[in-house]
């Protein structure tokens, strides 16, 4: 390895620009899909908690389906399968956003479901003895405790899912992985390229993680810890 030429490829502002755009696309899609996924997951888990007839079966099947199929297959299905069947065209990023949102929601929904189910029996009995309605129990007892206790699981699941988003490069989205693969194919400097990607993914993960933690501590967590 010639140390003098190490990282020389990044003298090219074209490559730096690709990496920079890749970071924005990877982080932006992950965060957007994360937010939409959390909302969808709450709806899915709530439907199951409330045992809404028929819909709860669909929600359960949906979650099982998402969690038991590979993300890459979900991506291909949404980016190529559905458009081929129904004859529409969307930009790459829209396919990626839809697929990631659906994928995230399945994992988050399962976390919410287990949180909803883990309220101790004693609290449920106290609530029943106090004549609290199911709505009050859900809103004031089940939901707030689930958000607090499940936050660490949601957060680490989110980071894990972020690391799988590199797969969206396979449907042509110019994300961070896509940028790396492209630069590698041009320069053949595989070692520098992939160590760069590794470092960038680690840095983004840590930033997402600490942002979530700071947000949690200053909002929801504040009530619980003081």
């Amino acid at each position: 390895m010639d140390n003098l030429r190490f990282f020389e490829i990044y003298r090219s502002s074209e490559y730096l620009g690709l990496l920079f755009d890749g970071i924005l696309i990877s982080a932006g899609l992950t965060i957007t899909a994360g937010l939409l996924g959390v909302v969808l997951a709450l709806v899915l888990a709530s439907v199951r908690y409330w045992q809404v007839p028929i819909v709860d079966r669909f929600a359960a099947a949906y979650v099982d389906f998402i969690r038991n199929t590979p993300l890459i297959v979900q991506l291909f299905f949404i980016a190529f399968g559905l458009p081929a069947a129904f004859g529409y065209t969307w930009p790459f990023w829209a396919h990626a956003l839809l697929a990631l949102t659906i994928n995230f929601s399945g994992y988050f929904a399962e976390i919410f479901r287990s949180g909803f189910a883990s309220i101790p029996v004693g609290q449920q009995e106290a609530a029943a003895a106090l004549n609290l309605s199911k709505k009050t129990i859900f809103r004031h007892i089940v939901l707030p405790q689930t958000v607090v206790t499940m936050f660490p699981s949601l957060s680490s699941q989110f980071i894990f899912l972020f690391l799988t988003t590199g797969l969206i490069s396979e449907i042509g989205v110019p994300d961070l992985t896509h940028a790396g693969v492209f630069i590698d194919s041009r320069t053949f400097r595989s070692f520098e390229v992939f160590i760069t990607l590794t470092i960038l993914y680690i840095v983004i993960s840590l930033m997402l993680k600490s942002t979530l933690q700071i947000w949690f501590r200053s909002t929801i967590g504040k009530r619980v810890s003081d």
């Binding site: 609290q123 009995e125 106290a126 003895a129 106090l130 004549n131 609290l132 309605s133 004031h140 009530r223």
Partner: protein, 243 residues
């Protein structure tokens, strides 16, 4: 009219016969202590009264309301019956005050300030008003149990059920909870207490009931119960517990 009237109540857990043909009634203002060995059905009995357990046969009437399969009757009964549990069962994410106000604002339609005022009144009643802002984890066991009592009192029940309210407490905290219960008794509250605190039973109970193997074995006034127990099983239980 008795506040609780149970007739020929049967309860099965699968093959296990937990309540065997129980006839039991409690008058308005009466204080009944239930004792008996572990597994004798004491909890099952009082949990049937507010519908936390459903019985399999017999009739239960509470404050003139017949407990039936329909949800409406359970809610009506629960609105006049307060319950205190062995493990306190406070909502851990809510302050002592919020534990007390939740039902008032969400179910009874009080405004927040009305609810706060009422809750503070009952928290003072159990002498814990100064801890109102703390969450359960920041309180001692005895304090938590007093909050749980205040929470039940906020709904102004006609009858209070206590299921071993001091069994989970460290010895030095038992008396503060018992004192609270004695003061409730002095106000004329109808009470059914499952407890092995025999000093408390002697002091406040009108009647002590001994249960064994799902049946009411003996029901006596406290003096008769302690001085002249009739049933051999009661005698054996007392000799063990009094030593």
């Amino acid at each position: 009219m008795p506040i609780v009237s149970m007739k020929a109540v049967q309860k099965w857990y699968g093959d296990y016969h937990a309540l065997k043909d129980v006839d039991f009634s409690v008058e308005q203002g009466e204080r009944v202590v239930i004792c008996g060995p572990s597994g004798s059905g004491k909890s099952t009995l009082i949990r049937c009264i507010n519908g936390l357990e459903t019985c399999d046969a017999g009739s239960i009437v509470v404050n003139g309301i017949e407990l039936t399969q329909r949800a409406g009757s359970v809610a009506k009964i629960r609105s006049v019956v307060g319950m205190v549990f062995q493990q306190f069962n406070l909502f851990p994410h809510l302050s002592a005050l919020e534990n007390c106000t939740l039902a008032l604002t969400e179910e009874l339609g009080l405004t927040q300030s009305q609810a706060d005022e009422k809750a503070m009144q009952y928290l003072s009643r159990v002498r814990i008003a100064d801890q109102a802002a703390k969450r359960p984890a920041q309180l001692s066991g005895g304090q938590q149990q007093r909050v749980a009592i205040a929470r039940a009192l906020c709904l102004e029940p006609e009858l209070m059920l206590f299921d071993e309210p001091t069994s989970a407490l460290d010895p030095e905290m038992i008396s503060e909870v018992l004192e609270t219960m004695v003061s409730l008794a002095e106000d004329g509250m109808s009470m059914i207490c499952v407890t092995h605190e025999l000093g408390f039973a002697r002091e406040v109970a009108h009647r002590i009931i001994f249960m064994d193997e799902g049946a009411l074995v003996e029901a006596r006034d406290p003096i008769g119960f302690f001085e002249r127990p009739e049933n051999p099983r009661t005698k054996k239980f007392l000799s063990k517990i009094l030593r």
